[in-house]
């Protein structure tokens, strides 16, 4: 008898395999896009590996190389956990081909397990690239016995399993709870948002837990925290023991517990799998509509409203696209409640800093969150199979993109303005400076919107099966997100530096002009892209 789970897993992998598309597609544009995506991924792999090796060198230089295996295990586990939670809804639950798969002779637990393995295999190269790079760095400084390398490599395959299972189980719980409510999507979105915010504040929580250890030096403290964390998160300890202490027990525990947990989680998930998916996929119809006065809107407004419904109707989309706005709002409110100085003191761990010099960085700090993701970077691709609607309607592409941009402005500017006001009030920023920061925030939002749209239109991809492919893994989002984030981090430092040497108002004015100019140029680029036919 043929191995059905293997057949399913193979089909799942093949259905999204770039190699398969390259082999069978005759669409040259699509092939070019795939090659471009592979080149981009290779660059990211190189950066990730270089960063991992450099981190090990840092540890090696200060004589803390023994902490590298634990660090490696913790980094991979943390990344695996966070990324899996964000992907569970869409990959494990509520995916498009659910009806088709479940109508085939597969056990519910088999479908769930294969979807999990699919997620695991797709993300494994990222985790292995970190693991192998850190192994190289460790090898250079620790010069371990030759058999440590194969052990490290083999255990590298197991490292992401337990955190991914934990995340999948958490996603399952969120879905299970959400499935019990009428507004399933809203409950799921809120729970996922709460979890993401928890992850963002994890650093402060960990520091709070280990504060009593009275560790002073930064690297030593990191090493100590790592060590303490490995005491709490045992798989990291097992991995470390296996590669540094040749512990057979460590190897057996990591491999055995991973396998046992896998079996246990999917036996449990399998029981409610059909139930959860049924709840997520079927919507009770109210059938109580009565025709009342309808309102007329401009086409741009109508598109913006459509975008609003698109965002709020998808847990995956809203948790990825609006999390920045939620974090910015929280930062603004928390700053207003606890005071600007207290927040700065928490972030800088009590470093003696004159908080006044940090004021010019307020708009950029908030923009780091608000501009983290622009809906315009993925909304053109999210049209997907619905693209026929706007294509067959008398809507200029320019108008369509303007509608998408308008919605992003509706989403970002009020959040930016509110949070800026909260922080400015809390920091005692003078009124004129506050107005300038509000204008700067608006200009940054305009830039983010238009630049996101350039990326979204230039790298539009309509042939996706799962919206995660666009929202989380799309080249448009990657091209928008990564440079934007790194440049903003640099700008925060630069603005503080310049603020100490020149008048804050003049600096804000210059920055408003630059941001506005960049926004205008990006907008013009959107207009020029909209003149392309098909």
């Amino acid at each position: 008898m043929r191995n059905r789970p293997l057949i399913l897993l193979r089909a799942l992998l093949l259905s999204t395999s770039q190699g398969n598309i390259l082999k069978h597609s005759t669409d040259k544009k699509k092939k070019k896009r795939i090659v471009g995506g592979i080149v981009g991924a290779v660059v990211l792999y190189i950066l990730l590996m270089a960063y991992s090796i450099l981190m090990c060198i840092g540890y090696g230089q200060v004589g803390l190389i023994d902490a590298a295996p634990v660090m490696c295990a913790l980094i991979i586990s943390m990344l695996a956990f966070i990324f899996t939670v964000l992907k569970t809804n869409g990959y494990l639950f509520n995916f498009k081909e659910y009806d088709m798969l479940m109508s085939l002779p597969f056990e519910a637990s088999t479908v769930a397990a294969c979807k999990f393995l699919y997620m695991y295999i797709k993300s494994l190269p990222w985790y292995l690239s970190i693991s192998v790079s850190m192994m190289i760095g460790y090898g250079v400084y620790a010069k371990p016995a030759f058999y440590v390398y194969p052990i490290w490599i083999i255990l590298g395959f197991f490292l992401p399993v337990i955190p991914m299972l934990a995340a999948a189980f958490l996603g399952f719980l969120i879905a299970r709870i959400g499935a019990g409510f009428r507004k399933t999507n809203i409950v799921q979105t809120v729970l996922t948002m709460i979890f993401i915010i928890f992850c963002f504040s994890l650093r402060f929580i960990i520091e709070g837990i280990f504060k009593d250890d009275k560790v002073t030096e930064t690297l030593e403290m990191t090493s100590q925290i790592t060590d303490n964390a490995a005491g709490v998160y045992l798989p990291a300890r097992w991995f470390s023991d296996a590669v540094t202490g040749n512990s057979v027990l460590g190897i057996l525990l990591l491999a055995g517990v991973s396998a046992a947990l896998f079996a246990a989680v999917f036996a449990l998930v399998g029981r409610s799998y059909r139930n959860i998916n049924s709840a997520l996929r079927s919507h009770a119809a109210a059938r109580n509509f009565r025709m009342t006065g309808q309102k007329k809107h401009s086409v741009v407004q109508a598109i913006a409203f459509k975008e609003f419904r698109r965002l709020t109707g998808s847990t995956v989309y809203i948790t990825n696209a609006a999390i920045g706005e939620v974090l910015a709002l929280l930062l603004g409110i928390v700053t207003l409640i606890f005071g600007f100085d207290t927040i700065v003191s928490v972030v800088t761990q009590g470093a003696p800093i004159d908080t006044a010099i940090l004021r010019p960085a307020i708009p950029f700090t908030l923009y780091f969150f608000v501009g983290m993701m622009s809906t315009t970077a993925c909304s053109p691709s999210l049209e997907g199979k619905n693209y026929w609607i706007v294509q067959s309607l008398p809507i200029e592409k320019k108008t369509l993109y303007q509608g998408k941009m308008l919605f992003n402005l509706y989403l970002t500017i009020p959040v930016m303005a509110f949070s800026t006001l909260c922080m400015c009030v809390s920091a005692g920023v003078p009124v004129l400076d506050t107005i300038l920061y509000l204008l700067l925030g608006a200009a940054l939002c305009a830039f983010s919107t238009a630049w996101g749209c350039v990326c979204g239109v230039k790298h539009m991809r309509l042939d996706w099966e799962n919206e995660i492919e666009v929202v989380k893994q799309g080249s448009a989002v990657a091209i928008y997100l990564l440079p934007n984030m790194f440049v903003v981090m640099g700008l925060v430092v630069l603005v503080v530096f310049l603020g100490m040497r020149m008048d804050h108002r003049l600096l804000a004015l210059i920055l408003i002009l630059i941001a506005s100019l960049l926004a205008a140029l990006s907008y013009l680029r959107v207009l020029s892209l909209s003149r392309r036919r098909f």
């Binding site: 919507h283 059938r287 309808q294 698109r310 294509q391 008398p394």
Partner: protein, 235 residues
């Protein structure tokens, strides 16, 4: 109203999905487009409504070229695809309002038209529900209403009766007759030859991308049934 002149569509591997297709649909015509699966019906229809690019030939709607004046063409055209992928997160009424906004229909007019067609298709009470909760047939009804509310001069439908219940099929046929009486040109593809025979005054048959027969129903059938005429032309 619709004129297709020597339209061809080739795929990159050289295969022709449509080969030198020419036909004219006049105001008041109900023009059936029939052929096997993969014969090129949807490819032609998608080019007519501006969804699919093409390089050879010309398509004119109300005197405007689909290639060079797509907006003018789309303003007077309505299209209903065979499998309506609508915005699942909008409610039915939100989707219809979206289309009404695009066509700049005033509040009173849209309300009257939506009510008229939604009542006719017995879907009014469901308009407040999200489209994701609709069955295929209900989505098809919303797509049909969205095509009708802006009173198009040309109505293009790809297999419009698939998934519709008998009552809705009857209603759609009635509406098509009514629109045709008001001067709207209707161009639609179908597999159901009985429907085409009763509904259309003109028909074109397509096989492997080529028109193999076209003309008025009387010219094509010559006293036989459309099915017999189709099978004869298909030989």
């Amino acid at each position: 109203m619709l004129e297709i002149r020597n339209y061809s569509k080739s795929y990159s591997e050289g295969k022709k999905a449509a080969d030198n297709v020419s036909l004219s649909v006049m105001s008041g015509d109900i023009y059936g487009f029939i052929g096997h699966n993969g014969a090129g019906k949807s490819t032609t229809i998608r080019a007519v409504v501006g969804v699919l690019d093409f390089t050879e030939g010309e398509i004119f709607i109300d005197g405007h070229s689909v290639k060079t004046e797509p907006m003018e063409c789309k303003k007077v055209t309505a299209y209903i695809p065979d499998n309506p992928d609508l915005y699942e997160n909008l409610t039915g009424i939100q989707y219809l309002n979206f289309i009404a906004d695009v066509f700049d229909i005033g509040a009173a007019d849209r309300e009257e038209r939506i009510k008229k067609y939604a009542d006719a298709f017995e879907i009014t009470s469901s308009l407040g529900d999200t489209i994701s909760s609709y069955s295929h047939g209900m989505k098809q009804k919303v797509a049909i209403i969205s095509a009708l509310i802006h009173s198009p001069k040309l109505l293009v439908l790809d297999e419009p009766f698939v998934g519709l219940d008998p009552k809705a099929t009857f209603t759609l046929k009635e509406i098509m007759h009514e629109m045709c009486g008001q001067g709207t040109a209707i161009f639609f593809s179908t597999h159901v030859l009985d429907v085409a025979e009763k509904l259309c005054n003109k028909v074109a048959m397509i096989k492997q991308g080529r028109i193999i027969a076209s003309g008025t129903m009387e010219e094509l059938t010559e006293g036989h049934s459309l099915e017999e005429a189709f099978l004869e032309a298909d030989k």
